[in-house]
Structures are given as structure tokens and as C-alpha cells.
Symmetry: C2
Subunit: 245 residues, 2 copies
DNA sequence: CGTTGTTTTGACACTAGTCAATGGGTGTGG
DNA sequence: CCACACCCATTGACTAGTGTCAAAACAACG
């Protein structure tokens, strides 16, 4: 750890517009880059941070992917979400200064480290950074609400489809294919995220394969008919003209 | 609406420390109070705002209670949360400037209206207001995560108990009894919030009554044995010494 | 006092969980 | 290079917990 890593630069970063710098002027981005620290890459299953530890930094995913989760008093685990490049982790810690969930790497992954104290100072100086922080916080709330709708009111099939659709969108936003991608998480992680058992995930995936909606090969997913997939979960997609909403 | 309501004052407000002014200096609180507007009280089932409409104001509950919910494309509803005095509503709209959920009054209720544009300006001037806003946003994320754990991994009985426990805590924080309170929401609303059917809510409440944990009389709830209730949902409560976690 | 909306209760069906066994990759060591 | 072990994923059989539907009881309101 004595080795000093190169200073990161947001202005060159391919995903800066999906990340904290969005909406900032070029000179503001440079100010932000000055406080960012690199961190050595994390290996699979390595913990980025864990619940109840003091939060000194927020983290942005630079490459790879992460899984956030909480546990109840009995040790029952709930996966809160998956983090892809450009996404901010640790926002739940702004309340008490301690992380309220834990985060592990799903594969070899790297992050940008954002010292919280300096980030706070910078927010006071740069209103546009402050607004972007609030937008990001607000986005997390909105997507958590969507997840609550999924967990509260959807069948196993709907959950599976919504999950695939969500990944498709997010990969698309990152410039990857929307119809072909590799899952970086285990079936168990998907199951836990969707409030199902891993057996149910398996069964749903095989059903969808047999129905010709997707093709599954281990972690590899290919969506054969994206519109069909959308139409199952959101009936309006199939007949956009007659859709009342 | 031509009638001008009296200018509200946060410094006199009984719940200001549970609300936005927490952590602000007295002169900062006064600056905040200047931008706050009163609004006529809302009647039961009256909509405060609805999804997809432009967000010009945030709202803080002054008295009464509210229910927030989202709907999917098929009109299936999920209750996102209940809002009690001191709590801020509309934070999900900071992302796009439009509300991403709808909010209705559960009883006759009043709110403080916070014009978003002026609140943003004030956040730039008052760092402590900015931090408090972020804390509140962060708190909503944390409690949404708890709700995801509940919706993803708990039995009907656990959900019911956690719900009662949550209300007990929140009423306690407001200075009310932690063991005796009136539900302002229907069974249907509780069911929808907990991802259950209203029949299941009824059955759980009768079971808990028969077990002597609570007494139910319509909307009135009396918790007979709070520790017993806690011990069912969090086994550690019963034997704090032998608890491993 | 009837009407309406809400809550409770019962009977039954069905989805998804659990348990257990099998299958398939991947990696390691002989 | 092959054999074995390990982990993960799949499949099957069975079960339990909730949802759904329908009816009745109850409270609130005009």
C-alpha cells in the first residue's frame, strides 16, 4: 500500500457523464478530480466496506461490478442492489457517518475513492456538484421504490423479466449490448436480490429459454426477443397505440 | 386560495428538531422559515401531489399523516411509505424535477410547503442546511433498504410485527405513547405496504391478539407486551446477554 | 334505519420454498 | 494430461404459507 497510484483524471474518463462529474463545467471537473484517490483493484468476493464501519470515503465504480447487501439480526441477508461503472456507493452512510450496508466485488473491479470530508467542502464551493449529489441520492431513492414495487407485488416470472430488462438498460447506457451480456453475479445473488430462492431463478430461466425469449449459457444471457420480453412484463409495449396509460 | 395564511415559524414549531431545521443555528432557522409557505389543510384521501407532475415544492408534514405510493403500467399499486409529522415528502423528485410517486392524506392533515428553487438557493448559502438535506435523503435510502429486507425475506408475521414496531418507534420519537396508538391507515394500506393481502393482515392481527401480544379495537392498537413483540421479530431482544451478534 | 365501505372469517387453490439428488464447469494436484 | 474435488446450477418431489374468492359481521354516515 506504500506504492502511490497515478492520480485519476475525470475529464479523460469514458464514463464521467454517467458519474459524479455530470453537469459540471470542465474546470469544476478538474477540481473534483483533485480530491479523488485511486485504490488498488479488488478481487472477486473482496469486501469494499462493511456495515457499521465509519464512512470516510464514498466510492464510484470505475470498472467491474459490486453487490450491496444488508443483514438482519438473525444473519438473513438481503441484496440491496448491484453497482455498475459510474455508480456511487456509500450514500446510505451520509446519515450517521457509518455504512448501513456492506459491499463486495462480484469480479475483479476498481473504484474511485472520494474522501467524504473534502467532497463536502467542495459541495459548498460548487453548487452544481451539490445538485448532482442530490440528483444521485434522489435517483437511488426512486430506484429503491421501483425495487419495493417489484418485491411487494410481482410474481417470480415478472421479477426475473424486470431484472433482465434492468440489466439490459444499464448495460445499454454504458455503451454495451442491450441484448447480450454476461451476468457477473451468481444465481444465488440474483435470487436474494429478487426475494426468491435460487431454485426459482433456475426454473424461471429455463422456462424463458424454452419459450424462446432468451438463451442462457451459464452466466451468459442473450435476449432473443427484447420486445417480447418487454411485452410480458409491461403489456403496453406490445400494443403501444392502444395503451391507455 | 386568495386568503393569505399566516407565515409559519419554524422556531416555534414543536417538531422542528425532527424536521429540516435540525442542526441549524437559530438565525439560519429564521432564514429557512422565510421561504416556507402554509397551505390549506388536506382532507382524507385528498391528493397532495401525483406522479409525473412537475415538482415546484417539497413538503414537510406538519400534522396528520400521508401515504406515498407508486403504480406500475398495469395500475398495480405499491405503498412506498407512510409520512408522519416532521418528515419530508417529494425527495424522489430531485432527480428529474417530477414526482416519481403520489401522495395522499390518510386523515385531515397539514403540510409546510418548501419552494424548491428557493430551497436550492438557500442550500448554497447555508452549508448546514445542505448537510441536513443530504442526511434526510440518506435516511430515506436507509429506511427503503430496511423495507426491501422486509419485503424480500420476511414472513407475514414478521412483517406485521416489524410494522407495529416501526410505528411504535416513530410515535415515540414524536413524543406520543409507544404502546398505544391509532392507525391512520386502512388494513388495505398496511397490506399493500407490506406486500401482503388485507385478509392476511386481519388474520395476523387476530393471531397476535389471541396470543396476548397486542389488543386491537378497529384502528386502535395497544401493545400489551412490547418486549415480547420485539423478541418475536428480533430474537436478541429476549436474551440480550447471550446474543451472539 | 338503510346504505356503504371496511374488516373479519372460512374454504380452497396455487405459487414458490425446502429438501434432496443430479449434473456440469473449473481448477488443482498427482 | 487425467482424475478428483469443489462449487454452482439444475431438476424433481413434496409442502407450507399466502392469495383469492365469497360471505358475513361490523362500523360509520347520511
Amino acid at each position: 500500500m506504500g506504492l502511490s497510484l497515478p492520480q485519476p483524471s475525470c475529464s479523460n474518463c469514458r464514463i464521467s457523464d454517467l458519474c459524479l462529474p455530470y453537469g459540471l463545467h470542465i474546470n469544476e471537473v478538474e477540481q473534483l478530480a483533485l480530491i479523488i484517490k485511486n485504490k488498488r483493484p479488488l478481487r472477486i468476493d473482496e469486501l469494499l466496506y462493511s456495515r457499521d464501519t465509519e464512512c470516510l470515503n464514498l466510492y464510484a465504480v470505475k470498472s467491474g461490478s459490486f453487490r450491496g447487501f444488508i443483514t438482519n439480526t438473525e444473519g438473513v441477508e438481503q441484496t440491496i442492489g448491484f453497482y455498475l461503472p459510474g455508480e456511487l456507493m456509500g450514500l446510505d452512510a451520509l446519515l450517521h457517518g457509518r455504512f448501513s450496508c456492506s459491499v463486495v466485488a462480484l469480479e475483479t473491479s476498481s473504484v474511485c475513492e472520494l474522501p467524504l470530508a473534502r467532497l463536502n467542502e467542495l459541495c459548498v464551493e460548487l453548487p452544481s456538484l451539490q445538485y448532482q449529489m442530490m440528483r444521485i441520492l434522489s435517483k437511488e431513492i426512486t430506484s429503491d421504490h421501483d425495487q419495493m414495487l417489484l418485491l411487494g407485488r410481482s410474481s417470480a416470472k415478472e421479477r426475473m423479466l424486470m431484472f433482465l430488462l434492468m440489466l439490459s438498460k444499464r448495460y445499454g447506457a454504458l455503451g454495451f449490448s442491450t441484448t447480450e451480456f454476461n451476468l457477473s453475479m451468481r444465481r444465488q445473488d440474483i435470487a436474494n436480490f429478487l426475494g426468491l430462492s435460487n431454485e426459482t431463478i433456475s426454473r424461471q430461466l429455463t422456462e424463458l429459454s424454452k419459450a424462446g425469449v432468451i438463451a442462457v449459457k451459464q452466466r451468459g444471457i442473450r435476449i432473443i426477443d427484447l420486445n417480447l420480453l418487454k411485452s410480458i412484463v409491461e403489456p403496453c409495449y406490445a400494443h403501444p397505440i392502444s395503451c391507455p396509460a
